[in-house]
């Protein structure tokens, strides 16, 4: 498909995702968790579409910085917002939300962190965009759109003036790497 970049494109994908979540979880009182930063934006947009009552508690947010497998290689961003899960996860159905699914490493880190809070009954991964380049045997369950981008490009969600859009960027070349 063509790259869904505009706010209108993103809104259509969000509608698709919200419908899928409504269908799959209508009788389960799920809990919603967004992965910082883009995943939280998407989760908020889904919450708006599904309504506060659909989920059993306020939105949870997850920062997976401490769970990345490349900490010693890349260090840590100085501004890390802490994870906040305002509910017990034990035996609950969680909808884990991210903006772009790429290698699968972020999801792995998020799952590890979630299990340090407790043992959920299930975790469903919902992402706005699933792109090529998977490196782990993990894949999303609910997807807004699947796209293919050239090697060396990456996708970045932008949040401006209360609307979400997607940009395609060339990956920066790091000196000495």
């Amino acid at each position: 498909m063509t790259m869904p970049t505009s706010p209108a494109d993103i809104n259509a994908l969000l509608d698709t995702m919200a419908n899928a979540i409504r269908e799959q979880f209508s009788d389960k009182r799920p809990l919603l968790v967004g992965i910082h930063t883009g995943g939280v934006w998407i989760a908020k947009a889904l919450l708006k579409r599904l309504g506060d009552d659909f989920f059993d508690a306020p939105l949870g947010t997850l920062n997976i910085a401490y769970y990345r497998d490349d900490f010693t290689r890349i260090g840590m961003h100085p501004q890390v917002s802490p994870s906040e899960l305002p509910f017990e996860v034990d035996n609950r159905h969680l909808v884990l939300v991210d903006d772009v699914f790429y290698s699968g490493r972020t999801t792995r880190a998020a799952l590890n962190e979630l299990f340090d809070y407790g043992r959920p009954a299930s975790v469903t991964l919902a992402v706005l965009i699933a792109r090529n380049g998977r490196e782990l045997p993990i894949h999303p369950d609910i997807v807004g759109a699947e796209v293919t981008v050239a090697k060396g490009q990456h996708l970045k969600l932008r949040h401006e003036n209360n609307s979400l859009s997607l940009i395609v960027r060339e990956t920066e070349v790091k000196h000495g790497k």
């Binding site: 010693t72 890349i74 840590m76 961003h77």
Partner: protein, 324 residues
């Protein structure tokens, strides 16, 4: 001037002293500690940040509390920790410190946490470790105790929100206190409005004023209108060394009682790096009273030490934007 605690990119490599560090770095340590302080609410009170790293607690001087909080901090970061017992160690059998150090380094150690009764010991060790090894000073002689100072700053920030308008009093043996020295440097760097030191002439450094502090020899007037009271532990050898007449005399003049505390602001907090001498520098009613945050300081010590350890071991390569 380059600070040998920092990498070429200005990030923390060793943590030896507060001296020479800038406000943004101290703020970053506290911000990072803030994130770690929520860890206690989880089922698993651990993050995998330093998994596979080896940290050795090298304590040449006893300190149960500091060593335990360093050990717990390292374990909560998933590092492997070894406590090197100096009384049974090779140095006690005549091996030189550097030989011991190089042997421990050969065990693929990533960090040494050093406590020593000689000023400058941690810096000496930092100068001789391999480039990939970090050193954290857990107290050296009368010189510095930077993590204690940072956990104190963190405690103050949590209660007061900011530093600029605060009046902070440090009471007791300033002369021999590495804690006080580091606290004064941290408070000054963070821009505290007024730093006061209160104690008998014999326990204050001669060049006190050059440290940018106001000096008081009377507890009541020194505490007038302060927001934070930091009591220091009085070491009993000071009395044997004739710097003080007696513990009773010291308590009468400089012991913090409920009555003396009334000179401070009503919402002033009382701090103490521990262990406390009840009835010598502080009354039990104050140590256990509503204004005391002494036990909070201990809890905060874990978060601050996690912050410093993760920053030092996380600065071994350039920071890059991570991409999922």
């Amino acid at each position: 001037m380059a600070n040998n605690q920092l990498t070429e990119h200005g990030r923390l490599r060793h943590f030896l002293t507060i001296e020479g560090l800038k406000r943004p770095l101290l703020t970053e340590i506290m911000d990072r500690a803030e994130q770690f302080s929520g860890l206690g609410n989880r089922q698993v009170k651990k993050v995998p940040l330093l998994r596979g790293k080896t940290i050795i607690n090298l304590f040449f001087e006893n300190s149960t509390r500091t060593r335990s909080t360093f050990e717990l901090a390292a374990k909560r970061l998933s590092a492997d920790v070894m406590n090197f017992n100096i009384s049974t160690s090779a140095t006690a059998k005549g091996e030189s410190l550097l030989d011991t150090l190089h042997n421990l380094e050969a065990m693929h150690t990533d960090m040494f946490v050093v406590r020593h009764n000689q000023s400058g010991a941690a810096e000496f060790i930092a100068q001789h470790v391999a480039p990939h090894v970090s050193v954290i000073n857990a107290g050296d002689g009368c010189h510095a105790h930077p993590t204690q100072a940072m956990l104190d700053m963190f405690t103050i920030r949590r209660h007061k929100g900011q530093f600029a308008d605060l009046r902070v009093a440090i009471v007791g043996d300033i002369l021999h206190s590495r804690v006080a020295r580091s606290q004064i440097q941290a408070l000054a760097t963070l821009g505290v409005g007024e730093i006061r030191v209160i104690g008998p002439q014999t326990l204050l450094p001669r060049d006190c004023q050059t440290m940018g502090v106001h000096v008081f020899h009377d507890l009541a007037s020194g505490l007038e209108g302060v927001d934070v009271v930091i009591m220091l532990r009085l070491q009993l050898e000071r009395m044997q060394g004739a710097l003080l007449p007696s513990a009773r005399e010291y308590y009468r003049c400089f012991g913090l009682t409920a009555e003396k505390l009334r000179h401070a602001k009503p919402d002033a907090i009382v701090m103490h790096p521990g262990p406390i001498n009840r009835g010598v520098e502080i009354a039990s009613a104050v140590a256990d009273g509503p204004q005391s945050v002494i036990l909070e300081q201990v809890t905060h010590g874990i978060a601050i030490r996690m912050a410093v350890m993760s920053m030092a071991l996380g600065s071994q390569s350039d920071l890059q934007e991570a991409q999922s």
